[in-house]
Amino acid sequence: MSAQASGHGTMNIKLIVWRQAGPDKPGNFETYEAKGITPHHSFLEMLDVVNEDLIKQGKDPITFDHDCREGICGTCSAVVNGVPHGGQKRTTLCQLHMRKFKDGDSIYLEPWRARAFPIIRDLMVDRGALDRLIQAAGWISCHTGGVPDGNSTPIAKRDADYAMDAAECIGCGACVAACPNGAAMLFGGAKVAQYAALPQGQVEAPERVAAMIQAMAENGFGNCSNHYECQAACPKGIDVKFITRLNREFYKALVLDKVGATPPKKS
């Protein structure tokens, strides 16, 4: 079906894209034309069009991370006109559609920029630091098997809902990219809060928060100075109240003398 048939015209878009051949290579912006884009193209489908063109010209296509293309895997990641994921509320880059742009628009496209996320190539970065935060303590220790019946401990619906609100995080790292300090407090806060709200997570709560805070520093994430850019950029609407919860859990742990690390800095 052509764009005309669907009742819309096509657009031409100017793309100014960060190109960088490798982690240690210099990078620079290159300009491309995306032609014949319909309002129904997703943002990544628009990039596909540009890439098909580049390949045919014998040039290297733009490397960008993506997989599910339905807003849940957290793989897609690029800063569009200065805003991670492009700025549509609760929308990942792969779910952003070109109807949000108009013919003749210029779009700047850059990778996540944060100390903890080294660039691999073009728009693709290494977010292994987020995995390392979870590896530090982002779990509830339970063996496979030998656990009680699922209904043995009732959990208030409000607590389950609160935990789920936090658990919706897709681990994309936009919060880190948006933060002037490159902090992972929203990501980390969401994990700490999810478990802190559940009875199963109580046993290890103090150790968990302490280890995660320490891992943040070790992995190159900055401190939180309450800018709340993270919440604005988050495609899943993760609330900064979870950062407050993280801080509260941390001070609780401090009181219990479970903390070797220094408290998170506040401005």
Partner: protein, 638 residues
């Protein structure tokens, strides 16, 4: 050859317990001497790697994404089944077993399905203990809902993100083992070959997707949990990177490929909007609990706004044809019914390829806020993609390729015919027969990983000498050379068409000829055409860049090359199976009312294909299926 699934004999209720007891154990002190390579970190792979690591095995885990948490299990929306019978509505292990056998149209092994139903309850307990925030009722107990094909409420869910929450549970368990040092993780690493030494699986050859390095990892057993292959249709609900590559490479090394033609077309996806489209998005079928499916009765009405079509002019065809199950009829039946309506010229939306899913009645009955609470995120997703408001006008949906019931053949221990090669999750063929019921894939992935493989792998390893093969073994070096050779070929063609153009061409041939409706003529045509496109691919594909760098085109080219080989096997399997069953609908084999006509006299078996090398016809091996606990019967949902 007649294959033996090694299912235990005796009373089915005791079969798994008895078998577990009979399996050999590996001495705890020796476990760390055994290295297990787990490829895939979805529900099946992550749960397996975490559980095996916890038992003390020395595990290496691989995935092509940058993080294990991004495996496509993350995208599952609807829920996970278990036979808990919490709602007291008549569920039981036996009923879940029965429903799965029947839903699969009697093409699965009974003992495997029984075991699945039996351990389903442990899965829920496990996930709750991990902190998975399942939906709860106001008293704080676990909530359930009913899902396509079941008349009991046995589906546990976490909003519209059940797969995400279960995967994050398994991912955290895996992360704990990584910290403990029992699991070593290799993300952005793609398996491109299986290393077989003296007939046993002892390693894998991988490409580091960042640096391009090609190397071999050796181990004492290999576990493949690499997901499904429906991207062979190009447009599907799978992620862009999902491929047949890992299991296809294993098949080329001798593993039998079972029932490749059993693919599932999901009835509730957002219809395709244009040619540029790169994937299709699923709308959870839980929507069918409250949405009513219809098309206009009259062709003239198809272009009218739906709200202007009166009640009497609407054909609620599922409710009409299947009064008992109505809008909850199983997936294959619902998908085919949608196609029929559209083939009849009564489809709606672009190209007439869509049917309505209407919430007006439920909104009137329950209020918009209840619907919003149940499915809010799905309505949001629909609006983001289509720019239409599902609360105000009916959604448009159309079937799309979604799940592969087929996969590598495994015995009751989940071991393939190659000793030491285990296959879990969607990558194997085991429990879903010819059609998978909703919310049963998550259950299978976690059953395989948490509760089956930790036992059955011991049975193999107990008799194996650890560390038998070293990385400098001739087979490893040969495997690396082969992978490098293929890469060189792909980079060397330097033709005129892109990988995506080829994949689109293959996909549309597969969808049109080997998709929802298949006939001898359409399949024969596909089998003739595939080799021609494949040849052109190898002469005219253009892959830019080099091997020793991050190169997404090269990755896609390799996956596409495998789909080109595999697609032919899929079509052959469909052509050989002269019956209709589950997701496999052969137009020649139907009853006058259009229902699938199964042929138990001739096809009550698993078709396991052995590849014989390029240019040679694959050889068919059969595993006969015996039904001793559920009687073979025509599957009726009327």
């Amino acid at each position: 050859m007649i294959l033996d699934g090694k299912a235990p004999t005796g009373r089915i209720e005791e079969s798994w317990d008895k078998h577990r007891f009979e399996l050999k154990l590996v001495n705890p002190a020796n476990k760390r001497k055994y290295k297990v390579l787990v490829v895939g970190t979805g529900l099946a792979g992550a749960s397996a790697a975490a559980s095996l690591g916890e038992l003390g095995y020395n595990v290496e885990a691989f995935c092509y994404q940058d993080s294990p948490r991004r495996a496509h299990s993350i995208a599952a929306q609807g829920g996970i089944n278990a036979a808990k019978n919490y709602p007291n509505d008549g569920d039981s292990i036996y009923r879940l077993f029965y429903d799965t056998i029947k839903g699969g149209d009697f093409r699965a092994r009974e003992a495997d399905v029984w075991r699945l139903a039996q351990v389903s309850n442990n899965i829920i307990d496990q996930c709750v203990a991990q902190g998975v925030p399942f939906a709860r009722d106001y008293a704080g107990y676990l909530d359930t809902r009913s899902f396509g094909g079941a008349q009991v409420s046995r589906t546990f869910y976490a909003r519209g993100q059940t797969g995400q929450q279960l995967l994050l549970g398994a991912y955290t368990a895996l992360s704990r083992q990584i910290k403990a040092g029992s699991v070593k993780l290799f993300p952005r690493t793609e398996m491109l070959d299986l290393v077989v030494v003296d007939g046993e699986a002892k390693g894998i050859t991988v490409r580091d997707l960042v640096t391009g390095e090609i190397r071999t990892h050796v181990g004492d057993a290999v576990v493949l949990a690499t997901g499904g292959y429906v991207n062979v249709f190009y447009l599907s609900t799978n992620a862009m990177g999902c491929s047949v590559t890992a299991i296809w490479k294993a098949a080329k090394k001798g593993a039998y490929f079972a029932n490749p033609c059993f693919t599932q077309i999901h009835p509730t996806c957002i219809p395709q909007a244009g040619d540029y489209q790169s994937k299709l998005t699923l709308m959870s079928e839980s929507l069918r609990n409250d949405g009513r499916v219809w098309v206009p009765k009259k062709k003239e009405d198809c272009n009218k706004p739906p709200n202007e079509i009166g009640e009497d002019d609407r054909d609620y065809y599922l409710e009409r044809k299947y009064p008992t199950f109505g809008n909850l009829a199983p997936r294959d039946i619902s998908s085919r019914a949608a196609k029929e309506a559209c083939d009849d010229g009564r489809g709606v939306g672009p190209g007439g390829r869509g049917v309505y899913l209407d919430f007006a009645a439920s909104i009137k009955r329950l209020g918009e806020n209840v619907i919003r609470e149940r499915y809010g995120n799905l309505f949001e997703m629909y609006e983001r993609i289509t720019d239409e408001d599902g609360y105000k006008q009916p959604m448009r949906i159309y079937p799309a390729p979604h799940y592969s019931m087929g996969g590598l053949w495994v015995d009751y221990n989940l071991m393939s015919n190659i000793p030491g090669l285990f296959v879990l999750g969607e990558a194997n063929f085991s429990v879903h027969g010819a059609n998978r019921l909703g919310a049963s894939a998550l259950m299978q992935g976690l059953a395989d990983g948490y509760f089956v493989i930790p036992y059955t792998i011991g049975g193999y390893l107990a008799a194996a000498k650890p560390g038998k093969v070293k990385p400098d073994h001739a087979e490893c070096l040969k495997s690396i050379a082969d992978v490098q050779e293929t890469e060189k070929k792909l980079l060397g063609v330097n033709g005129k068409r892109t990988v995506t153009e080829f994949m689109r061409e293959l996909g549309s041939l597969m969808w049109n000829n080997v998709g929802m409706g298949r006939s001898e003529a359409s399949l024969t045509e596909a089998i003739q055409k595939i080799p021609a496109i494949r040849e052109e691919f190898w002469k005219n594909v253009k892959v830019s860049g080099g091997g020793m760098e991050t190169n997404q085109q090269l990755e896609n080219a390799g996956r596409t090359a495998d789909f080109f080989e595999f697609s032919e096997l899929l079509a052959r399997d469909a052509l050989h199976r002269n019956e209709s069953c589950g997701g496999h609908f052969r137009e020649e084999y139907q009853y006058p009312d259009g229902e699938a006509k199964r042929d138990d006299a001739n096809f009550c078996y698993v078709a396991a294909w052995e590849l014989k090398g390029a240019g040679q016809e694959p050889e068919l091996h059969k595993e006969p299926l015996k039904f001793e606990n559920v009687h073979l019967a025509v599957r009726s949902y009327k």
